[in-house]
Amino acid sequence: MILLLYLFLMGIFAGLIGSVIGIGGGIIVVPFLALALKIPIHLAIGTSIICVLATSLAASIRFFKKNIINPGLAMVLEIPTTIGSIAGSITVAFLKNNVLFIIFGCFTLASGIFTYVKNRWPLKFGAGMEPTASKSSIFDSEYYDQLSGKPVRYHVRKIAYGSALSTLAGFFSGLLGVGGGVIKVPAMNAIMDVPLKVATATSSYMIGITAVVSSVIYFFNGFINPVITVPAVAGVLIGAVSGSFAAGKIRTKYLVIIILAVFILIGILMFMRGFNILNY
């Protein structure tokens, strides 16, 4: 019973942090299950991918209500992402636990630094990037910006570059049970000229579709157990909904410093576990 409570509380924490600073919960769920609860890492990744799916669905409801997701763009980027995800999900079965711990450690450190930079200097990296004029495509769209009170049109460019990075995001999603938004959002915003709001919303929706691919493969490989998954998913959903309400009230400046410290700690612990320095 205590274990279920831990899983539930961990889910709330992951969902809360994820929605406040815009990362997937997977990066917190996997280390917690694997390091703290000593659950096999393959099973931890399977649980995480269902949590990521739940978070994505909850976020998509909010973003679809605000009408800022670009479904056409999501679909075209999903083709390389899902192919990458299939490759990642298959690869995971051939990797030893130690290697997975080391790869996850690298990914956590990179994500921590990226999240810190993105939130610490939003004007230099992210929100300040304005769309530029370019040739129109079938993925061009428009959304209603509540701040300016006007519809905003945007042109999508460099689909090929975005697709290449989406493949990478899909691969990590399938391999590590994370969302991959850390790669997709900057790819869409900085390379494809998609406004940051649309990039974040579209990425959230895409994460759910990518998670379906990995979930099905994990599901039939025995890496998803409902006893662990259900309390974690319930916690993640509650945390994500609470986080969306709290997002505007929390001082992100200090929060990202704490998150960076937590991610560095998680990364180091995963490395130590990977190199057998941390044994149990």
Binding site: I79, R153, V212, I217
Partner: protein, 139 residues
Amino acid sequence: MQNQRNKNDSVNGCTLHENVRLSRYMYLIILCGLIAAIVLLLAGFLANITSGSGLEVLNEFEKNTIGPEKLSVLISGEAGSMPGLLQYAGIFCMILVPVAGIICSIIFFALSKKYKLMVVSILVLVILAVSAVIGFMKQ
């Protein structure tokens, strides 16, 4: 205000009017699917807790994972362990929600005569089907 936009005042992709309509359908599909999944998951979880079973499966997770052969049991309802099957049905329902969203997109793009986007959406659906086949094969 959004609905007042002229339908013909279009960009090359979806207009704001079309985006609003598609977003409304997607919102309803995902909301209903997620609620259904949560209800199934919680029902299974509570049944599992009240029956007193469950936590020992942590050490034997591979034995307790559903396989293709159990899917027919899940659909027919001839369940040996109802709590477990309810939870798996909840997880499966959650997995199917984005698939329902893609099918909705395909129908919408077809009706809006956005055939290129429709083909792209069909391709995504095909890749999802391939992943399911790979999952079955590996199992």
